[in-house]
Symmetry: C2
Subunit: 159 residues, 2 copies
DNA sequence: ATTTTTTAGTTGCATACGCAACTTCTCTTC
DNA sequence: GAAGAGAAGTTGCGTATGCAACTAAAAAAT
């Protein structure tokens, strides 16, 4: 493994990608805050639950999906549970496992946040992309995501 | 301004872009930490100074370039100054202004971090992109960055 | 020329997050 | 089946960061 060769184009692509991300992200967060809504990290976690079968996930699965450390997720779930947006349920089959289960109130919050989030994506991101560019991004980052997943799996498999 | 129309492709592009970013970012930060080096935010700030004429910038310019709030930048500069990576100089022409000036030690740190950073970009980002995709990303995000800059300027200009 | 407004930067406070240590439970090994 | 290894979550602690309030300096208004 020695791919430290980095063509100028790819480096420039990284720079643009990197700074754009922070600006877009900050703009969307600002829109949410201006609308009196919680931040994207709440949305991410609730949405992953929404997608999951029976709207429930183990804590560590949710941590991975929501791009958080396990401890970070514990705190986030504490807050979400306090707001009744989800519930913790102990798993009957494995006493170590906790499940986070989305509540109706959680779904309701997703429905309130989505229009603002969608508008933010449209305004700060999508409006500036051609359809071809969007497709190119999908292709590239789908592949990239798969490769990173695989790398994680490999690391786990070779201790 | 009512571009809340969001085609499915563009939404999917956002999703891929968003999760990929966090994974790549976390991987690169992990590489830096594993090498005993400071985090990307230090690199970003020092590198912006490195690029600037005479290697100096006003605090608020640096904050904008380094993607931080002004208060966040104050704390960061506190730490960088404590490590002698830069110096604060009061501006003789305007008593309110402070300049951050990169030191040789700061340049040295940039030189130490860059190989690790470059390898991270290559491994976690560039290795998975074709040349055409890199070019497409440059085009798209250059345009997007310009549009966001302009939007900032507009906001400033219409109080 | 004095007052008011605006700007640049800093600080108090609150929040969000990760790492490492810990607890509890399960699985493996003998 | 008891002991050790491993896994899932939680908690202590340190750090990073933003917002709002503050200070100091310059610019604008009178």
């Amino acid at each position: 493994m020695k791919p430290s060769h980095l063509p100028e184009n790819h480096l420039e692509a990284w720079r643009r990608y990197y700074v754009s991300f922070w600006r877009i992200f900050a703009s969307i967060e600002a829109d949410l805050q201006a609308a009196g809504l919680p931040s994207l990290s709440w949305y991410d976690a609730l949405y992953e639950l929404y997608l999951a079968p029976d709207r429930h996930l183990r804590m560590s699965e949710l941590a991975r999906s929501a791009l958080l450390s396990r401890s970070g997720l514990t705190r986030l779930v504490d807050k979400l549970e306090k707001e009744k947006l989800l519930e913790r349920k102990s798993c009957p089959k494995d006493g170590r496992v906790q499940h986070a289960v989305l509540t109706d109130k959680g779904v309701e919050l997703l429905r309130k946040m989505w229009p603002v989030y969608r508008a933010g994506i449209a305004k700060h991101f999508a409006a500036h992309l051609s359809d071809a560019e969007a497709k190119s991004i999908i292709a590239a980052f789908t592949r990239l995501g798969a490769a990173l997943e695989k790398k994680c799996a490999d690391v786990k498999a070779t201790p």
